[in-house]
Symmetry: C2
Subunit: 319 residues, 2 copies
């Protein structure tokens, strides 16, 4: 099943529900908004329903308010699930998906996608689901507006770390070129993504960086954020932040780590790698997991003790 | 004059000197190395001569040691000057360029280029001189090697701020796609450029960020680096750093500033803008200058006093 099938599904249905995974990120928000705008332009009646609200850092995306978190009965006869390897990833929105009255389409780029749904377009070679939505638009014969192009470019950029990850293929770069030609404002998107950092977050980052520590001959760079620091800078750990990316940016570091002291006595640990060390395996030692380059774990305990245990174990692995 | 002329110049000469501007950056280093490698592959005898040495952060570029700073008589009969708006920009290398025995070719993307030389290919629409070197290679019928593609991609990335500036055109992105197809390792280049930060530089950045200050209702975000901080972190101000980019990254800031206290009693000031405020005009008030989005100035005086004067003047402009 492929692009023509997605087009056939769209042709067949007039009321369409779009949904995606919990803990939304730049690519799944943008792919939902881009697809909704394209289908609305084709005369469809479209709703977007997600379990979790859109983080404020993505409120620059035109139409983000269209995403409802009000889980209830839906009139749609087609549900398009984007950027999800399996239906489980949509969380409680599953309650609103009724196979008796709805067909399901699946548009995704995760290699672990289980090919659920009556219609699917899954391509693990794609950098992002937004890259696939551009293909869907072409298949549907839709000429993207400048606003649609800007939205979709946002997803390409967030899922490739701003065209820095190895997932940035020639096709990704050509899709980006096409979006800029359609009027996407690349510099504006970059400003929204990278130059809108809350001042208190920058000051807290400073407070962490000044104590950046190295272990294992510099192969491990790590920092910790305490409850006292969070209070001092009025920062809420629930806000999205990428402090750990500054640890892994250290010259010589193969692993970067950030310890976060939560109010409930749990220490959350973020692991990052430059790609040569599998941090999924490191995090698994502490009951966590993730990917080769990014993983996490949670340990109950006192910050100093957890730091000591985990640093010792990771340093041993890197020796 | 255009691409065929550059090809004609290359066909005519066997001993070629490549040079570029003082204070080298990613694009001019990569364009010299890429062009030298291409011409060497065509059987030319090529030297590269620059006034200033290659900064250590660009030592990842294969062949950087080929760039000599030993200014003396040259046997070349063609000098190709890249990434320079005028010959003056090559500094003391001008002493080695002898019009009586040499022709001059000019490959550049600066809008201010004065079209010097017998042969020139100047295109202000190009993101970078490396983008032009890719065109030159195509004109010469050269198929780029993976190493050449990686070198040239580096220049595209540094001159566009990693595909973030408005100079990133559809042609830039398509050129990047072509370079990745030729074997350029985009993720490796990104790692070299953005994930090799000296740990002491990261700690000093922390020391500055913790004191990030806002003025003019948040439209101005600024920091200062003192001699005491430089000593504490063993950091040399001559090393390339982009601390000011963290000030302009603050949400709400239209201008970012960094005051640097030098050992000689001069305060160096860096100005950055998100593009809506002309910092060239602000810097000019203090005898400095630059571009709309990036400028600098130098003022003799005590740090606290210079801060007070400049902040007051800039805040008034932003009011």
């Amino acid at each position: 099943m492929s692009l023509p099938d997605i087009a056939a599904a769209v042709a067949k249905h007039r009321r369409i529900l779009i949904t995606s995974h919990t803990n939304p990120d730049g690519d799944n928000i943008a792919s939902q908004l881009g697809l909704a705008s394209i289908l609305t332009g084709l005369g469809k009646r479209v709703d977007i329903l997600d379990q979790d609200p859109v983080p404020s850092r993505y409120h620059y995306l035109p139409g983000w308010e269209r995403i409802s978190n009000d889980i209830g009965p839906q009139a749609a006869t087609l549900a398009i699930v984007v950027d999800c390897a399996s239906v489980e990833r949509i969380g409680r929105v599953a309650e609103a998906i009724t196979p008796a009255t709805m067909e399901i389409a699946n548009i995704d780029h995760h290699i672990s996608n289980v090919n659920f749904g009556q219609y699917c377009h899954v391509d693990p070679q794609a950098s992002s689901t937004c890259e696939l939505i551009v293909r869907v638009a072409r298949q549907l014969g839709v000429k993207l507006s400048a606003e649609q192009a800007t939205i979709l470019l946002s997803g390409l950029m967030t899922d490739t770390g701003g065209f820095r990850y190895s997932s940035t293929s020639p096709a990704t770069l050509r899709t980006a070129a096409q979006l800029v030609e359609s009027g996407a404002d690349l510099a504006w998107v970059a400003e929204q993504l990278y130059m809108q950092q809350p001042p208190n977050q920058l000051r807290l980052l400073g407070d962490l960086l000044i104590d950046l520590k190295l272990e294992a001959g510099g192969k491990l760079a790590w920092m910790a954020v305490t409850q006292a620091q969070l209070k001092r800078h009025s920062f809420n750990l629930a806000e999205s932040e990428e402090f750990v990316s500054y640890a892994i940016a250290a010259r010589g570091a193969e692993v970067g780590m950030l310890f976060k002291e939560q109010a409930d006595g749990v220490i959350r640990i973020s692991f990052r790698s430059k790609g040569r060390v599998d941090v999924n395996r490191l995090a698994a030692q502490f009951g966590g997991g993730g990917h080769v380059s990014a993983a996490g774990a949670r340990i109950k305990g006192k910050l100093a003790e957890v730091e000591q245990t985990v640093i010792a174990a990771v340093a041993k692995e890197l020796a």
